[in-house]
């Protein structure tokens, strides 16, 4: 008579399949999971306490490190929150440059996500294709602000540098090159039978769960909720731009499964290309930074401002007491709640499905831990 036992395994902080330092304590019966507990905090860098020490201007570089894969949008979210509190108006040219930077960053973040998902499933080559394209985006950002990963480009009041001569042409060249590459990527892996079988019907998140657990961004749209902050609560120059909001339709299995979330990110890259082309053609000439005092002292009050990043909306809750340092600064990120829903959805999945599920949620460790 064969006797089976439940096994407790720690998918520890250092693991090739976890996205950064995340840990899962799983109880399995063979391959099937009975219980999953997420253990986070391995990258808790106390950014909220640091903000109280360094002040509004000093905190700008830290926002890059909040989500390093999509740093421009984090800079943007912070700048929007402080500008709303302090009543600063940003010049038009800066708004368009911010949007171009944010959408380019969205493309590069989604490239990483699709590459890493394929790598987690077992296919190593799509990842190399994805980071090859990402190198071109890094070159564009280097033209714009001098850095490859932690940009500190979107500042309070505008952007730090203007686009140099030749940036527009290089950008259009990159977009012309990228759209056929996404098609090639789809032919390479996205509609591959094995890949679809690994992702379709796995980790289905219902609409009620997605809203109740406060999932945001492509995770929320994958479950059928047509919500995008850029269109529904627009900020910056987005009201003047046209693009589609994509929703999961259960094309390979059920609405809200891993494949839906994956395809939304592939198609969002094409929408971002559209937005960048429109922004490049509409961008006026002018200043790139508003006239703001050297030390920003917003009036006493609070603000909660959200901005759509590649991983969903990042909310900044800032409490000001009239001085040049925030009294309390809280960052509410999409990956935090995405990790909490793993505990609900994972029981019943197999160990390999857990890996596919976590990579389709596109979780990055610093967003979870801050």
């Amino acid at each position: 008579m064969i006797r089976t036992e439940e096994m407790t395994i720690s998918m520890g902080p250092q693991h090739p399949a976890t996205h950064g330092v995340l840990r899962f304590i799983v109880k399995t019966d063979g391959e099937v999971l009975h219980e999953v507990k997420s253990d986070i905090g391995y990258l808790h860098r106390s950014m909220e306490k640091i903000a109280e020490k360094v002040g509004y201007i000093g905190f700008q570089p830290y926002t890059d490190r909040l989500d390093y894969v999509c740093a421009m949008t984090c800079n943007h979210a912070y700048a929007l929150a402080v500008e709303k509190l302090a009543g600063i108006t940003v010049p038009e040219r800066a708004e368009y440059l911010r949007i171009i930077a944010a959408e380019l960053n969205r493309i590069s973040s989604h490239l990483i996500m699709v590459g890493v998902t394929a790598m987690d499933i077992g296919a190593f080559t799509p990842f190399i294709h994805a980071i090859r394209e990402r190198e071109t985006v890094n070159d564009l950002f280097e033209m714009l602000c001098g850095a490859r990963l932690t940009y500190n480009y979107v500042r309070i009041g505008g952007v730090s540098f203007d686009a140099p001569a030749g940036f527009k042409e290089k950008c259009v060249e990159f977009l012309d090159h990228l759209e056929p590459i996404i098609d090639e990527f789809n032919r390479l892996i996205s509609f591959n039978k094995i890949f679809v079988k690994r992702l379709a019907g796995v980790g289905v998140i219902s609409r009620e769960d997605a809203i109740g657990y406060n999932l945001v961004g492509p995770n929320l749209r994958g479950s059928g909720v047509k919500w995008d902050l850029r269109r529904d609560m627009p900020y910056s120059a987005y009201p003047r731009l046209e693009f589609n909001v994509l929703v999961g339709t259960g094309e390979a299995g059920k609405v809200g499964d891993c494949f839906d979330r994956y395809m939304i990110r592939i198609r969002e890259m094409i929408e971002s290309c559209k937005i960048i082309r429109q922004a490049l053609s509409l961008m006026p000439s002018g200043d790139t930074m508003a006239k703001i005092p050297r030390r920003i002292k917003p009036p006493a009050g609070e603000v909660y401002m959200r901005c759509e990043s590649a991983r969903g909306d990042i909310g900044f809750y800032i409490v000001s007491d009239g001085t040049e340092r925030p009294y309390r600064l809280k960052m509410r990120t999409g990956s935090f709640t995405a990790m909490s829903i793993v505990e609900k959805i994972a029981p019943g999945l197999m160990v390999a499905d857990l890996v596919a599920f976590v990579s389709s949620m596109d979780v990055v460790a610093p967003e979870v831990d801050r």
Binding site: G41, E48, G212, E302, Y304, S340
Partner: protein
Amino acid sequence: MLNDKLKYLEEFKPQAGDAWFIVPIDKIAEACKTLRDEYKFDCLSCLTGTDRGEFLEVVYHIFSYQTKETVVLKVKLDKTALAVPTISGIWPSANWMEREAYDLLGISFTDHPDLRRIMLPDDWVGFPLRKDYKEPEEYRGMSTKLC
């Protein structure tokens, strides 16, 4: 508009930024349930704890996908009695957010299904986001000094 059903809400409008409602501690769960069921506020967007010096407060940002409105509720806590009823039964996203407030500020949530530290190690002493927090000299043999 909200004051019709929830008469115990006290509105406060500062000079700059968002306005908020102050809720008595024992009524917070009831207020949240009413907001979810009757006013269609389906999502708890953010739960924050703040140390205000003489007292602590918990701030709830509640959002509705249908009306696109945000409501801000605040609960004031005395430093000697840091307990708030949990709302993790109303919106599941509150579960981890309340654990974070407990971990970093020491606010406990009564009837929470799993109240333990989330970001810091389990044997950490103290609540770092409090304004009077002092860093320890070392942790498990590792010095906390700069060099």
